[in-house]
Symmetry: C2
Subunit: 154 residues, 2 copies
Amino acid sequence: MQPPPWYADIATPALLRHARTTYGKAMRKALDDAGFDDIPANGLDVLGGLAHGVRGVPIGQLVHELSVTKQAAGQLVDTLVARGYLERTPDGKDRRQLLVTLTERGLAAAEVQAAARETIDDFLLDRLGAQKVEAMREGLAALIEARTKDFVPH
Amino acid sequence: MQPPPWYADIATPALLRHARTTYGKAMRKALDDAGFDDIPANGLDVLGGLAHGVRGVPIGQLVHELSVTKQAAGQLVDTLVARGYLERTPDGKDRRQLLVTLTERGLAAAEVQAAARETIDDFLLDRLGAQKVEAMREGLAALIEARTKDFVPH
DNA sequence: ACTATTGGTCAATAATATTGACTATCAATA
DNA sequence: TATTGATAGTCAATATTATTGACCAATAGT
């Protein structure tokens, strides 16, 4: 009979928080070391979402990704624009909509951040194997899908 | 050949954030519905950590759990005390240390919160099975352990 | 054309976190 | 035991981040 693992009686939300902190700290340190030391807290999630070949996202999408009001998202974008990471460019299709895109500097930061993320990803892969990593991601995805259920408000 | 799942190119930190939000929204709604509608954001993590028979934790532990300064943790505790959820009680062993414990009201809230958490846990278990849930939690634990590595600052 | 909806801003305020300076207790040792 | 250093926490001031409320422009659906 196995002894219970150390995390046996830590609730899943707490595990999620700490796991996310691991990525957060690693990415933050990499960015700081590379001179990108003026990125606000939620900025990492914005850059992360823009990282790979995404050409631009509307503010409204950030609102969903960050689960904040659109004013807060707008303010965050303001800061990131002021610090040279992002640009607002109008979308041709719908002239209400402003797309947020990476500047040169923003792209450089996003790449540093992505590299740090991959360091952790690789550690995990090495530690657990592809099978379990995939199971973890599947579990996380299932939790996200739970939000469409009626016991979780949108 | 399987089509890639919808979350295939969402980075793990983003998955973690959204998964945590699922728990957060569900617990928040349950608390609101039960009349506990004045709990600050990080308060859920405090109550969650105190939930099951834990008799009291020092502020310093909250600092680690929340990854904030001790001042921020102290301020959060102030608010929770003012609103009747927590008490500060001196620890006999070490008179510098103040233990944070649940009041009656705090315990009631913690129970509502735990029930909401379990609803999500059950959903996940039903959806994925015990095996995969355990794999997910193991993955999260491995990520947390990664913080002892030198590529993640403490 | 009219109305409702969507995407976003501006301004003011509230909530939350940080930096800096400080007190009290404890632990180790000379 | 006096002294030094580390630990646990507070107080005060400020900075940062998020929310509420009021608004405008463009689009979508009659």
